[in-house]
């Protein structure tokens, strides 16, 4: 029982971080129907910047995080303004390919600048932990969950009450009509990319926390947010959160209870199996919108 609770709580904590990463995907998809394959690369850069500022430049951790978030948000906006705005009206496929290219270039760049070794994150929590009963919680986990919830709540308020929430969905559905009703489509897209950069950084910080550390493979870990958004329903922030948490729990539980006959590292496959199973029952994901058929 203790083992189950331990795994479930670890899984939940990991899932909350996945939810943040998945939210980054969901925001860009919601605003432009583009699946941003560079989300993992943004996360990687975010984690490395925090590491650079906090562990190597000696800035306080909170300041390092704020700086990294600001830089990534600005880079997201700039990328949209300098590169993607030229692609408005191009097939979505073109834009998706650009994000894949960006991802490859950025990941290679991080490798070239910082080398392949693990680095220090520079966070104040390290491996510190506490017990509730016999279940162990690390402080990184706890702060990860808190940050995820604060950011997700902030996003939902933004989505529901700011004028850009509705504008994003309109811009994705029909850019030309959105322009005609006064929605500055490019600015809305830039905003989505800025938000994606900011949440990627926070996700990166907690993915790189104990027992992990900033390393070039972090971006791949972010790919696990991918089954999360698919099973949650593309473009649905609620789906991103629920999907992220499900994937985190599934992954940690399978790694804890891995039966011998599945071979090693079955936990890396399990999330995708869950995703496929969900899609068989609900082809648009748990919270996805099914396009209405016209007869």
């Amino acid at each position: 029982m203790t083992q189950f609770l331990q795994l479930a709580s670890d899984g939940f904590a990991l899932g909350c971080v996945y939810a943040l990463v998945a939210l980054g995907f969901a925001v860009v998809y919601r605003a432009s129907q583009v699946i941003n394959f560079a989300q993992g690369a943004m996360l990687l850069v975010g984690a490395y910047l925090v590491s650079l500022f906090a562990a190597y430049a000696g800035l306080p951790f909170w300041l390092a995080v704020i700086l990294a978030v600001a830089i990534l948000a600005a880079s997201g906006v700039l990328f949209q303004m300098l590169v993607l705005r030229r692609t408005l009206g191009q097939p979505l496929f073109t834009i998706v390919m650009i994000t894949i290219g960006l991802s490859i270039a950025v990941t290679a760049g991080v490798d070239a600048v910082f080398g392949p070794n693990q680095r220090l994150l520079g966070d104040p929590w390290g491996a510190s932990r506490f017990h509730v009963g016999r279940v162990v919680f690390t402080w990184v986990e706890v702060w990860g969950v808190i940050s995820a919830f604060v950011l997700l709540a902030a996003f939902f308020v933004f989505d529901r009450y700011s004028r850009y929430g509705l504008a994003m969905r309109a811009a994705a559905a029909d850019p030309e009509a959105a322009l005609a009703v006064g929605v500055p489509v490019r600015r809305v897209h830039a905003l989505a990319w800025g938000i994606a950069g900011a949440v990627a950084t926070i996700g990166g910080v907690f993915l790189a926390g104990f027992p992990n550390s900033p390393n070039p493979q972090l971006g791949d870990a972010a790919l696990l947010a991918f089954p999360a958004i698919i099973l949650g329903g593309l473009g649905s922030p609620v789906g991103a959160v629920v999907g992220g948490i499900i994937i985190g729990i599934v992954q940690v539980l399978t790694s804890g209870y891995e039966p011998g006959w599945t071979g090693n590292n079955f936990y890396e496959v399990a999330p995708y199996i869950v995703m496929i199973a969900v899609l068989l029952a609900k082809p648009y994901g748990l919270f996805g919108t099914r396009p209405a058929e016209r007869l």
Partner: protein, 260 residues
Amino acid sequence: MSLLRVQDLALRFGEVTAFEDVSFEVGEGELLAVIGPNGAGKTSLFNALSRVYRPTAGIMWLGDHDLRSLRASQLAGIGVARTFQNLGLFAHLSVLENVLIGRHHLMRAGTLRAGLWWGFAAREERLHRGKAMEALELVGISQLAARPVQTLPYGLQKRVELARALTMEPRLLLLDEPVAGLGAGERSEMTDLVRQVHARGLTILLVEHDMGMVMQVAQRVLVLDYGRVIACGSPAEVQGDEQVVRAYLGQELAGPRAAG
């Protein structure tokens, strides 16, 4: 004083001229209809006015705003609203959301304000929701507000679009074939709606194929043929114009096609 002034406007795509030397004015509170045979340049003119295309030459002013210097998304802010010939609705949104988005340019709560002071944002959101409902009531479909817009029949979707344009609180309403694709009953209802909206003092520029409708609602009619203005005057004058009759030869011109 005219609200909309267009002078020597031209639009060319390479060697192809969509229209040229188009000049006209629309007075405050007037309803001007633009008609012409297929391919006469009506929709191109409409798209130039709504800044989907950039005119090649000429000037166009709305009050003291130079329309050429504005981007499409800025037109809403100076009071231009438009509808689309083939609908420009947002498929996954509800009817109410489709109308509410028309108030984007009137809303103030941006990212920061919604994040830090969401009491303000929530109050503002309620206010605009109310305005959007009023527009839906005006076009007679407020009971459908919560429905996904794509589940509505075409005729009602056209009304959603009209409601959205109205809720933008425009000074100039551009209507692109509002009765195209509608059945006879829907046509006369939409015609009544346009007349009602006009009666409230709104200035309207209407592009329409349906002569019956045009003759019922328009105060002045501008006739395009092969991208040029061939006549401009009251419905009666235009109907009697020899050049217009020739342009429309073989087409039903005089009799109202829409029932009623």
